[in-house]
Amino acid sequence: MDWIEITTVAVDSIRANKLRSFLTTLGVVIGVCSVILLVSIGEGMRAYLTDIFAGMGSNLLFVVPGKRDTKGGGRALNTVRRLTLDDARAIRQRSQSVVGLASRVVGGGTVEHESLSRDTLVMGTDEEFLEVHNMRLASGRFFRREDVEGKHRMVVIGQTVADELFGSHSPLGQSVKVSSARFRVVGLMESKGQSLGFDYDDMVFIPVSCALDLFHQEGLSAISAKAANQTNLEPAIEDIKRILTRRHNGREDFTVVSQADMLDTVNKLTHTMTLVLLGIASISLLVGGIGIMNIMLVSVRERTREIGVRKAVGARRRDILFQFLMESVAISMLGGAIGLGLGTLVAHAISSIEPDIPTRVTLWAVSLAFGFSFAVGVFFGVAPARKAAALDPIAALRYE
């Protein structure tokens, strides 16, 4: 069988009915486009989050107040014991597996310098924050343990805050007001950009002791703990649970979250989203397939005479079968190609308009798209092609 000839005939036939062929492909175009979009957004999300977690420093654990239990069951809010600086200190002293620890209190605040001011996020933390969270200073210094313990009013500011308040001047040594309290700028953070909805550049850092006073708080928002390595993660979780439960009168009223847990949650989420969108995609591929079948039946009818001629000069059943099958596959693959192009375009457009939604068109998505459109072409092309192949040559030749 001459596949080049069969392909040529199929392409000719599609070109002879350009508008009709284009409209027929639309269902597949939309189906494949949504497959590409959903897969590339899902893949992009996953890659993005993995990157962020890696950037935050792996082997990181978060302790947050309150028990989040997947088993459900309500709890009264006021029974939650706060996480305190003493809790943090206890973990630091007693756990062998935890090598770094940062207490955190987060609140909103206005930072002022002379006539300029900026509303920003104020993070109260301690001396190990940089090391635990894999962050670096651009200049100056971070606060030390004695600064935290002595409630020294010093602040380390992010790049955006520095640009807004100081422009091109150096902020080091300058005096600023954080929520009306006077602080001295001792350091400037290296630019880190946004991740997980946090803009680390639009933030200021003060000693956690000062932050608790400033926000009139007694409890921490969270404690970040760093394990020495991957194998120490589980022992670290066990340590933290044991130490805090004892301190909290035997109740586990806090939650230890590892990055693996967070990644798991995100993966489950994207997995669900993928399934939903795959459902939508399959429906449009089904509709597209029916459209192709419909138009192929019309095409067989229109070309009854041609089929008669081909049979008269010696075409066997399978010659006719493959010719029409090739045509439906070609229409479907054309739709697949258009859908792939469109999907890629939209994916890039989404990424450039909204950088928070990263997309990534993978080889897997491309082969999935072409696989789908090929399967649709074959599946919905078989019935019309068989009908064409089974035509009686005499009746076909007489067909008007």
Binding site: S13, R310, G314
Partner: protein
């Protein structure tokens, strides 16, 4: 070459039976020029379909080049049509989107002949009907007579045993029709092509060397000139 023995063909139209052929026997030799004539509904189209291996008889035997073809399946018949029979139709039946050359090459495609060889043979066949210069034209760019000559080239391209023509001049005016008949005459005399012509037109039939008249499913006369 063609040996038809006591062939009948019965069609079932609902509950009634139509006897299209009621026992036809006919021998055609190599390089014969035969016309089958008869009024419409006489069974001549049915006979032509059977000779052309488009249809099989209800009873009786048909041997073509010594091979019994009356009991073959669809694909085997397709293969015989491809190798041994060239069809010329009243309405030309060219594929409108393909060039003259591609139309002529069509039987070679199904014979499994390679691309380059197909082009060469199709060009040769077009030369034989004096249309070598129209190879790249589409059927719509050709006159009626030229289209029928393309169809004849297509019928000849596989070197068939028989050229089977069904009312080949029916859609042409008298002058162009005459040219087609002259072409048949030439192909038969100088190249020894076996011709079976089906027509209701006695004037066209008179050009053939042998006339077989069929009425009501039976051969009523068989005259050689």
């Amino acid at each position: 070459m063609i040996e038809i023995e006591d062939v009948t063909k019965v069609y079932h139209m609902g509950s009634s039976e139509v006897h299209a052929l009621r026992g036809v026997s006919l021998d055609v030799n190599k390089s014969d020029y035969l016309a089958i004539v008869g009024p419409s509904g006489s069974g001549k189209s049915t006979l032509m379909n059977i000779i052309g291996c488009l249809d099989t008889p209800t009873s009786g035997t048909y041997r073509l080049d010594g091979q019994t073809v009356s009991s073959l399946g669809d694909d085997a018949l397709a293969s015989i049509r491809n190798r041994k029979i060239g069809f010329v139709f009243q309405t030309f039946n060219l594929l409108p989107r393909q060039t003259a050359l591609e139309n002529v090459a069509l039987p070679l495609l199904y014979a499994g002949i390679g691309r380059r060889e197909r082009r060469r043979l199709a060009n040769e066949a077009l030369e034989r009907v004096e249309l070598g210069d129209r190879a790249q034209h589409k059927p719509t760019e050709l006159s009626g007579g030229q289209r029928q000559r393309v169809a004849i080239a297509r019928a000849l391209v596989n070197q068939p045993s028989i050229l089977l023509a069904d009312e080949p001049t029916g859609n042409l005016d008298q002058k162009v029709g005459g040219e087609i008949i002259n072409l048949f005459e030439r192909l038969n005399r100088s190249e020894g092509v076996t011709l079976v012509l089906v027509t209701h037109d006695h004037q066209i039939a008179s050009a053939a060397h042998r006339q077989v008249e069929i009425i009501d499913g039976r051969i009523v006369s068989d005259r050689s000139r």
